[in-house]
């Protein structure tokens, strides 16, 4: 049994009932190394899985998730993929707390596809800052169930009633006889027992690991080069592939003028035509890349059958102009009171149009896929993904085989950010599958950074028209917002023409301020680019639009922007508390401009956001030097209701500040003639260390339902920075990135 891959219920219960085997080497290539060598699947557990009922309650079957090894360490298969957000550590804390195993004794890996892992509303998806909040209760119960089974097994072994037993981390204790039984000694017996129907959960007051700053399980491997990403996978007999895509999506390769010459280049195995691309297979990736880039390809125009072909005359500037010119109020998404009437009766009306550009994800690990066709007709894939079942289904469809014939391995992700969703033309695995079939050997395909920047799914471009009405005292009484563009959720999950895609308006809608008359609408405009989810999705730009416009209203009403927010939150204690918390963290609110100790002229901006079930308040302190924007400090107060790991939350706030600031200051994808102008980090700048502000975090646990962590820290950053900058610049800023502004004349 040693050569069996980790538990894969859908395979173990395959049509012939026989376990599926792959080579030991293949298994090791995807595993975490030596610790997993001891993994065996006891016959009893195999039978239990094979005989499992058809209706599986996700998250209930202990054996699908947990394997307690003879040394009492735990192999845990996570439904959620680790991409830096710390989910493997959080899972170990949550399960370990109830199982009574020190989380440090967990080895966590991404689970294979299977019905046990459908923990996000009946599906499985790592994203939307959902992992912990959607699975917290279920995973606690799973750990408690496993502990209960271990207690029963120990009772049988010791011949004593369960009521006389207790546990300490990793072992069962019989205090009356001073005997202990390590979990590892009874794991097989426990695994054969039925799942308990009801188990008590540990009292929150007695938590040892949940809520504590537990060290990440992957910190050492990631500090010594041992962590294995998709790009690092290696299996016997594999060849390497590199591609050159059509410069515009939809174009197809015509004649390759120097094909014979390229075939003769060192290490080249073969040259291939693929849909929308050409590929070279070689005995090293560098040779494949050099050869494929040497290919002189005549690219055709987009075929009429191409889905989402990129128009040859497309430019991002023209598309932006189109969005800004769209007229009308669009389809209503959120209405309260009578915005039209209140605007008509307002003492003063403020109007402004805001916009934000396309962005790439820019995760540092370029996409790759390793594909192997096995002798039994199954297809094995190692690939970065945040939804294994969806990739399995799509790969099966592409390969023309049944989904259960597709084995998906989901390694650690070298950056997440929403990049590794099913985006079709932005995913390399169909190419790898096709090439592996064509050459009859495993293929590891890696996209160069240039191909990645050509084919990444972009954060959509957006524009928003605001109208705000103030009463005679300068208080906002009406707000109308019309968002123009397309949201990624509608693109990938289907859009109803008469309904608004919430991902296009989240962060404009759902705001917490007590403005009595509001209307948020959307005008859908097809985006010619391939668009996708980007960390914080619609919130990543919409809270910028809204929170900077709110400062415009404050200025028009001659009110301090912090005080205005405070007043508008009078009826919402949770949000008012959070706003006060961030001001307190920052040593008190002051807008500025003021002169700092180092002589620089500075200002502060504030913003709030309600993303992904959490509440966030953010303050940024900014100065200008030689026209260059310096962000010195960012203070973030977050209320996720309740928490699992404060250290990981603080790290996530740091990374959210970095990405939010990067997008605010620097990032913009520019298309000219249907082609992105930047194909690497030299043309598409991301935040460098010298631009990183100090980040100060306060976690407020209000006890509200648990919210997300990975994304919520981001949306408040661009508006807080832009609001501060507006004070220094003496003018409102309505467009990103801020690096487009000429600020030399306003140097302080």
């Amino acid at each position: 049994m040693n050569d069996m891959r980790p538990i894969a219920p859908e395979v173990l219960a395959s049509e012939n009932g026989k376990p599926f085997k792959v080579s030991r080497r293949g298994f090791l290539g995807a595993s975490l190394g030596a610790l997993v060598l001891g993994v065996t699947l006891p016959a009893s557990r195999t039978r239990a899985l094979a005989a499992a009922p058809a209706a599986i309650t996700p998250g209930s079957r202990v054996a699908a998730f947990l394997e307690i090894r003879p040394d009492s360490t735990v192999l845990f298969r996570s439904a959620f993929i680790e991409g830096g957000q710390g989910i493997f550590t959080a899972m170990a804390q949550i399960v370990g707390e109830e199982l009574d195993v020190d989380p440090a004794n967990f080895v966590v890996e991404g689970a294979p596809p299977g019905p046990d892992y459908l923990l996000t509303g009946g599906g499985r998806f790592t994203g939307g800052s959902m992992s912990v909040r959607m699975s917290y209760d279920t995973m606690r119960k799973l750990g408690a169930s496993a502990r209960h089974m271990l207690l029963q097994a120990a009772a049988a072994k010791l011949g004593v009633p369960v009521s006389e037993l207790s546990t300490e981390p990793g072992k069962v204790i019989h205090a009356a006889s001073s005997r202990t039984v390590p979990y590892g000694e009874i794991a097989d017996d426990a695994a054969a027992l039925p799942l308990p129907a009801e188990v008590p959960l540990r009292d929150r007051a007695n938590f040892r690991w949940i809520g504590k700053p537990f060290a990440r399980l992957d910190a050492r491997d990631k500090s010594t080069g041992k962590a294995k990403y998709s790009i690092d996978q290696k299996i016997d007999g594999m060849l390497y592939a590199a591609v050159q895509h059509s410069p515009r999506l939809g174009g197809e390769p015509g004649a390759m003028q120097n094909e014979a010459e390229v075939r003769g280049m060192p290490g080249v195995h073969s040259v291939h035509r693929l849909p929308g691309a050409v590929a070279v297979v070689a005995n090293s990736w560098w040779r494949a890349r050099r050869a494929v880039e040497a290919l002189q390809v005549n690219w055709t125009g987009a075929a009429s059958t191409a889905s989402h072909p990129m128009p040859a005359d497309f430019s991002s500037a023209a598309h932006m102009a189109k969005l800004k010119a769209a007229s009308g109020d669009g389809v209503a998404f959120e209405t309260e009171g009578d915005a039209v009437g209140a605007l008509a009766g307002a003492a003063r009306v403020v109007e402004a149009v805001y916009d934000a550009p396309y962005l790439v994800h820019g995760q540092l690990e370029p996409p790759s896929a390793l594909a192997r066709w096995n002798e039994d007709g199954s297809l094995e894939l190692w690939l970065p993904n945040q939804a294994p079942e969806m990739f399995q289904a799509d790969a099966a469809k592409f390969a023309g085989i049944a989904p259960e014939k597709v084995i998906i391995h989901s390694p650690m992700l070298g950056g997440f950010l929403g990049r590794h969703f099913l985006y079709q033309t932005a995913n390399p695995y169909p190419q790898a599958i096709q090439l592996a079939k064509a050459v009859g050997r495993p293929i590891k395909l890696l996209w160069s950074r240039e191909e990645e920047f050509l084919r990444d799914a972009l954060r959509p471009m957006a524009a928003v028209r605001f109208r705000g009405g103030l009463d005679a005292k300068g208080m906002p009484v009406a707000l109308s917002a019309v968002a123009v563009g397309e949201g990624p959720t509608g693109r990938w999950f289907g859009r109803q023409p008469d309904k608004v895609d919430s991902s296009a308006v989240e962060g404009i809608a759902g705001k917490v301020y007590a403005i009595p008359n509001r209307r948020v609408g959307q005008i859908h405009v097809d985006d010619p680019a391939i668009i996708g989810f980007w960390r914080s999705v619609g919130h990543s730009m919409n809270d910028f639009f809204y929170e900077t416009f709110l400062d415009e209203l404050a200025d028009a009403g001659q009110q301090d922007p912090y005080e205005l927010r405070h007043r508008l939150l009078a009826g919402s204690p949770r949000h008012r508390t959070l706003l006060e918390a961030v001001a307190d963290l920052a040593g008190g609110w002051k807008r500025g401009p003021f002169v700092a100790e180092d002589g620089t002229r500075r200002a502060r901006g504030v913003a709030m956001a309600s993303p992904f079930g959490s509440e966030v308040a953010t303050i940024a302190e900014v100065s200008l030097r030689d026209g260059d924007i310096a962000v010195h400090d960012v203070w973030v107060a977050i209320d996720p209701g309740s928490i699992v790991n404060p250290a990981i939350i603080e790290a996530q706030m740091n990374s959210a500040v970095a990405l939010g600031l990067s997008s605010a200051l620097l990032e913009e994808v520019v298309y000219v003639d249907g082609m992105p102008q930047a194909r690497n980090y030299d043309g598409y700048q991301i935040l460098t260390p010298d631009r990183m502000p100090r980040v100060h975090v306060r976690i407020v646990e209000s006890g509200a339902p648990m919210g997300g962590i990975g994304e919520p820290g981001l949306p408040g950053v661009p508006p807080a920075v832009a609001n501060a900058l507006s004070v220094l610049a003496g003018k409102r800023i309505r467009s990103l990135p801020l690096s487009k502004l000429d600020l030399k004349e306003v140097d302080g």
Partner: protein, 148 residues
Amino acid sequence: MELTINGTKHQVDIEPDTPLLWVLRDELGMTGTKYGCGLAQCGACTVLVDGQSTRSCVTPVESVAGTEIMTIEAVADDPIGQKVVEAWVSNQVAQCGYCQSGQVMAATALLKQTPKPSDDDIAGAMVNLCRCGTYNAIAAAVRDAAQA
């Protein structure tokens, strides 16, 4: 061509202009060193060549024949590298971790040349990109490693 990597000699038969990165990753199976951009923009591929921080994605392999190359695989065997690794772990620097091999190597190179770096020294040497924005933790870890 003979290369000395982590104190071990390796014979490689390869085009001399092949970047060192791909010799390490594909020829020698040392995948701890990462590919990020191929243009010396991000630093994920940083290794030490005769103790100097070097971006292996733009370093022709022929140019490093006869040098001492050190990669992340051997960092914990190096006294200074070991301090850097411990500081990286205790500061919980890594998030996605993809850039951290290069960051650890850049820090090791810095501390080999400047055992007690000033904040300006750290800012000048630690210029690799990190999309997770772990920059503050990186700077703190370098300061800790210098004190260790």
